[in-house]
């Protein structure tokens, strides 16, 4: 078993886990179960990041997505009434139309990807490997080339923070 094989196995394992989790997220009856499946899917995505040598992003995905955002989701789910939601109809009226249209869109995109590989120039690109020490590269990129988007993102977060606080206060 070579490292390549391991990578292959890891990709298919995490990939199928992510898809399975996603499907169950959308179809689950209980919202908390839904959230758990989404967490599974996100963790599987983190695993995929790991196979792509994006270690820092792997950490960020777990800390922010799983440890932050999903906790927030679960928190809110517990605050809003759960017993009622179990008895409600899961899907809305236009579910068949919506599902069909989405599948059409997906098949179009898939068709384009499958038959248009050359057009997208998806042949193996540069042979250079990402260095194993890409945390340093990552930091450099963030604070040199992309420092302006970084600052904008921080402002965005601040705005979101204030917005969330203002909205959830009882009286504004």
């Amino acid at each position: 078993m070579t490292p390549d094989q391991i990578n292959q196995i890891a990709f298919y394992f995490f990939g199928s886990l992510a898809v399975l989790g996603a499907i169950l997220t959308v179809t689950a009856k209980n919202i908390v179960h839904s959230a758990i499946y989404l967490i599974t899917s996100l963790l599987a995505t983190a695993g995929i990041f790991l196979t792509l040598q994006a270690q820092f992003l792997f950490g960020v995905q777990i800390v922010l997505y799983v440890g932050g955002i999903m906790v927030l989701f679960v928190f809110v789910i517990m605050l809003v009434n759960l017993d009622v939601s179990l008895r409600q109809i899961r899907f809305n009226r236009q579910k068949w139309v919506a599902g069909l249209l989405t599948l059409v869109l997906a098949s179009q995109l898939g068709f384009a990807l499958w038959f248009g590989k050359e057009a997208f120039n998806l042949a193996p690109g540069r042979t250079g490997e990402l260095s194993a020490q890409n945390v340093q590269q990552f930091g450099r990129g963030l604070f040199e080339r992309y420092v302006l988007p970084f600052e904008i993102a921080s402002v965005l977060l601040l705005v979101a923070l204030i917005g969330a606080v203002v909205m959830t206060k009882k009286r504004v």
Binding site: A22, T25, L42, Q61, I89, R90, L113, L122, L130
Partner: protein, 101 residues
């Protein structure tokens, strides 16, 4: 040798589609928000796969920005849900039919 890049693209496409189906068909707003997270996640896989493909960290940086964005979106979205739930006692999208309350 990793799986070729189009494997990642198809995985991403699958997640994206499932996310869209969730957004369009579910009634519960929280699930809709979670489906949006799925979509963003699908985009992240694409970005990171290309980052690896082109041997440059730029894609990862974009993915980081998207995660930031997802955090902001979740905070505001959940804030709206809580505010709405306080007023109308519902979290169903098709019952949110008032422009102002």
């Amino acid at each position: 040798m990793l799986p070729a890049i189009d494997h990642y693209l198809f995985l991403s496409l699958a997640l994206f589609t499932i996310g869209i189906i969730g957004v369009l068909t579910r009634r519960n707003v929280i699930i809709i928000l979670m489906s949006i997270e799925l979509i963003l996640n699908a985009v992240n896989i694409n970005l990171v796969a290309f980052s690896r493909h082109w041997a440059s960290v730029d894609g990862q940086l974009f993915a980081l920005f998207i995660i930031t964005d997802a955090a902001a979106e979740a905070a505001v979205g959940l804030g709206i849900i809580i505010a709405f739930f306080k007023n109308r006692e519902t979290v169903l999208a098709d019952e949110m039919d008032l422009l102002k309350w």
